[in-house]
Symmetry: C2
Subunit: 294 residues, 2 copies
């Protein structure tokens, strides 16, 4: 299959759905908040999490339509996490995807609120249209909230911030990566499968796939921060070294880090053995995750 | 009825449930994040929103147990909003409920993340135990997310921040109050009624009650900031004047503001005419809201 065409096609589908689901308001007073939210939501993201949600549904015979509102909600949550992560009190980043970060354009207060709004609106979007199967939707909301919350993504960010400048070991770094990035990636692909009516052993397999590509994705990010092309990445390279951030390459070196990400991708794909060709997008996405240039 | 005893009894019930629902973690790495979240969650809040949720359920024949996890989630969301609102980029407050604000104790990054964690975990708590009636729960999640999101509380905060130092009119101020404070109060009492199986006309009546007490509550807050006792409030008085915040008293004066809040409470109670004595707690809470000293 042509994974690039697949990703492009789904990205367009999601961008259209994001525009549809974005909570517009005729209220003039809310104009700047909404602008701030849209600025980051439509800043050229890869839409990896929504695509994984759709591909997770497709792997078990479902379709995009079954999961599109949850897929959009996942991108809302991802975008909020980037806005808050870039704030001066956090990573203090000036550039993101080739553009000034949200607080550089709208100020700190509005960036904080844009993040809060996107996170909260995500749960509105998920529940707006009701659901053919409300039990499944409740399970998915629970899964996503757990992955994004204090025992998931927020927890990973907290440990990441606390570890800055400290000499952390590889197990702490794995904790950070798996929580900060891996948890929502795992929840994205798994929620697609659940909504599409996957059986429990299929959900388990897809969840294991998600855990492994989640960690591989963040190691790939670490590697791109060393050897990536700043033009393609849309942000400066070497910022991890500058900030003395502990990463896989900084602890284990580039070669060993590359080897680990390749093993994780192999392992992820092996969990898909129970599925037929409908899981090919998931297989190809796993490879793409470590081959991408941005 | 003895409203003080009622509020005290429910407050104890909610505090116990909050401890039960709080997402503990054995992970040593998450210790500081969890401490930060608990610091604000158990800082002596009035638990008004969860109590309204319970009283809303009781008014239509439901019980505390039907709504306790959603009631706790509402307090999580309220607490997150206070933590973020106190941040230097926002209201920059040092004291809250007689204690240093979250960022004063845990630093800005951790306070930001504690808020993010509480907001996200709220949606985990609501969906953890499943629900006898999943359709009702989905409707309630949607209602709460809308009330707390960019067209609700976050929207109100955005306009509030943008209006600081500006000469806003009473309609903008009403917008801020109804969104920043009123929306979640309305959603709290309404979600209790929905979960307890209220009929549509009952939901409408309780929602109207909520809109009116929500605005009355914030006007009462404005008034307390002028004439309240700092010892009882746990924060300094006069901070609105100092920050040149536009409030009901600053635009309309104290007497007119008091008159408006009394009219709102009367109007709120009139919407409860279709209910019997089971709605007495709601009637008494409406009066308490403008008589409270903190």
């Amino acid at each position: 299959m042509d994974i690039k065409a697949y990703l492009e096609q789904k990205r367009e589908l999601i961008d259209k759905a994001l525009k549809k689901h974005f909570l517009e308001s005729k209220e003039e007073l809310l104009k700047r908040l909404k602008e701030s939210m849209k600025y980051s939501l439509f800043a050229g993201g890869k839409r990896l999490r929504p695509i994984l949600c759709i591909a997770g549904a497709e792997a078990v015979g479902g379709s995009s339509e079954d999961v599109l509102s949850v897929a959009c909600a996942l991108e809302f949550i991802h975008t909020y996490s980037l806005i808050h992560d870039d704030l001066p009190a956090m990573d203090d980043d000036d550039m993101r995807r080739g553009l000034p970060t949200n607080h550089k354009v709208f100020g700190e207060a509005m960036a904080l609120l844009a993040g809060d709004g996107l996170l909260t609106d995500a749960f509105y979007i998920m529940t707006k249209q009701g659901c053919k199967n409300p039990e499944r939707l409740i399970r998915v909301i629970n899964l996503i909230a757990e992955a994004a919350g204090s025992n998931g993504m927020v927890g990973g960010q907290a440990v990441d911030i606390e570890s800055e400048g400290m000499d952390v070991d590889i197990s702490t770094l794995e904790f950070i990566h798996c929580h900060k990035t891996g948890a929502l990636i795992k929840a994205s692909v798994t929620s697609g499968a659940i909504l599409a009516g996957a059986k429990e052993h299929e959900i388990k397999a897809i969840s294991n796939y998600g855990i492994n590509i989640g960690l591989a994705f963040q190691i790939a990010d670490d590697i791109l921060n060393v050897i990536g092309d700043p033009k393609l990445l849309g942000k400066s390279v070497g910022s991890d070294i500058e900030k003395q951030k502990i990463t896989y390459p900084s602890i284990l070196g580039l070669d060993k880090s590359k080897q680990i990400q390749e093993e994780l991708v192999k392992k992820a794909i092996s969990f898909l053995n129970i599925f037929d060709s409908k899981a090919d997008p998931l297989r190809e996405i796993a490879k793409y995750i470590i081959e991408r240039k941005k």
